[in-house]
């Protein structure tokens, strides 16, 4: 186990964690402010990635695709909020699960209807295609570095928005105590729609960034949705800070586990058994992490409510 490999895995983990954060941020706000379980959040990610991939293919420019795709996903998210999701806020969690699961099914089939069931390909822009030599003897793909940069910038902007603007204050107030925020004159309805728009835009950014690395396909939203839920539960629902910390933890633990566990297991139980069990044990790791966090802190690392 050498230092270069560990550094590379840390960077991969950071990159994955930051993308998870983009998804988890919207999810945790929707969850925290509106007390709403949104299983369709992964669908926004999928729709965003499809929009970006198809616009990029049509115009031949990754950047045009990214820009229009993000706007398109935000509009889609706000429309979804205004037509359907708004009616679910006052309902219990169980109805919300059923309602948003229905939307998830319809989004999946809608995408399949429009784009077909073949995965789309999305190529990173040419200038980011090659590797970059970070240290002597250690090069890292430029595109992944770019993703890390985008993730950090967006996280920073989000921090400014939440911590230093009037809207952000209202969002935080809503997450801490919805009734009180309403009583103090916050226009919650408009705020909710805006939060959904921002959440959808963040999803689209993540979809666009991860699109060239993972496949753009139907069902891509579900697997990552579960991870985003794990992140916000670890972080504490409604807390952006918690989402960031949780996302980085999950990203790094998951990535490091996948590379470090098989050789470690191989050392302990022999190569044959390790190559069988290694990947599965690595997949289990983040769930063990979540269960452990909840065991000691049943409301997550940064509880926002009372």
């Amino acid at each position: 186990m050498n230092g270069i490999l560990i550094l590379e895995q840390m960077l991969n983990g950071l990159q994955f964690g930051l993308m998870l954060f983009l998804l988890a941020a919207g999810l945790t706000l929707v969850f925290g402010i509106m007390d709403m379980i949104n299983l369709a959040h992964g669908s926004l990610y999928m729709v965003g990635a499809y929009l970006i991939a198809s616009i990029a293919a049509a115009t031949g420019s990754f950047w045009l695709g990214l820009g229009f795709g993000i706007v398109g996903a935000a509009v889609f998210g706000m429309l979804l909020e205004m037509t359907v999701l708004r009616r679910l806020y006052q309902r219990d969690h169980v109805s919300q699960v059923l309602g948003t699961f229905a939307i998830l099914l319809m989004c999946n089939e809608g995408v399949r209807l429009i784009w077909g069931s073949q995965p789309l390909s999305l190529n990173p822009p040419g200038m980011l295609a090659g590797p970059v030599e970070l240290l002597p003897g250690f090069s890292y793909p430029a595109y992944r570095l770019f993703i890390i940069g985008v993730g950090l910038v967006v996280a920073g902007l989000l921090y400014l928005l939440i911590a230093h603007t009037r809207v952000g204050m209202q969002v935080r107030a809503g997450a801490a105590n919805r009734e009180m925020a309403m009583a103090m004159g916050t226009n919650v309805q408009r705020l909710f729609t805006a939060v959904f728009g921002v959440g959808a835009a963040l999803c689209a950014v993540a979809g666009g960034m991860l699109g060239p690395l993972l496949a753009v396909q139907v069902g891509m939203g579900e697997s990552i949705l579960i991870l985003a839920f794990v992140v916000i539960v670890i972080g504490g629902i409604g807390s952006i800070r918690g989402a960031l910390l949780g996302a980085l933890l999950v990203g790094i633990v998951d990535t490091a586990g996948r590379t470090l566990i098989p050789p470690t297991l191989g050392y302990l139980v022999g190569l044959q058994a390790a190559s069988n069990a290694g990947p599965a044990v690595a997949s289990i790791l983040i769930y063990v992490l979540m269960a452990a966090v909840l065991f000691f802190k049943p409301r997550g690392l940064f509880p926002t409510h009372g």
Binding site: E109, R112, I284, P298, R299
Partner: protein, 324 residues
Amino acid sequence: MPTHEQAAPGLLDHTLQLRWSLPVLAVLAALPVLAALAGDTFYVGLATRILIFALAATSLNLILGFGGLVSFGHAAFVGVGAYTVAILMQAGLVSAWVAWPAAMLASAGMALLIGLISLRTQGVYFIMITLAFAQMLYYLVISLKAYGGDDGLSLASRSSLGLGLDLGQDVHFYFVTLALLVAVLVLMVRLLNARFGHVLQAIRENEVRMTALGFAVFRYKLVAFTVAGALAGLAGALLANQGSFVSPALMQWSQSGMLMIMVILGGVGHLYGGVLGAIVFLLLEEFLSHYTIHWQLGLGAVLLGVVLMAPNGLTSLARRRTVQ
């Protein structure tokens, strides 16, 4: 709550509603004959599948509907039951009298362990921690290369039951499944009308109050969770037998989601909620998939319609809340 035995049924009591459930049972019992007359035995298989999922959804309803515990990992217990039967079968144990109780025991044990940790949390955190444990079991099964791993495991045959029944014949298997579902429903109604069931439902309504009254709330919830796990294990044993095949897909989180959808659709906290939900959901799936490959679009529209059009829901839970 009335204390003497002969009192009129209270808010927390449930009945089998024999007036309409007996005719339904009669139709179900006659179904294989009708299918044979129509010359289409495909429907026996479909009906068996529906009954098995009805059993699984009913077991989830015990904790979700009557205990207020929204478990998002119920498919794991179904999977543990199914894998127990398959693994015993591979070891040469074919008797249903051994394998099926073993499946229930394995699932119950797993539910007990998971419940011990999960029940410490509340609300959304409970939903997520049950999901986490289910995912752990899912990946654990994938790593069991000796039992097929990702590819799943085929069963050499169905379990053998004796009593002159051959489970290999679909009609016999159908009747055994039906009998087990009826037995479970009778058990459910007995359980719910007993002191245990009343306490469980009272905890759902007001946990703080029940704690203050001196009830061992945690223990009641744990027992309910374990019983639900055991019943899910039975459903898993049947499911493994029906397809003669088990795979990790049985334990995927979408399966847990589907069981939850069935319960919500049919009626959270209704004795027949799980049964009704399984019938409606699977028939809808079957019906729509005949017409279009994009059947999920229709299914989604119907589910959304149910949520939006019935604001107070098919759920007795919601109705009871408005009553209070």
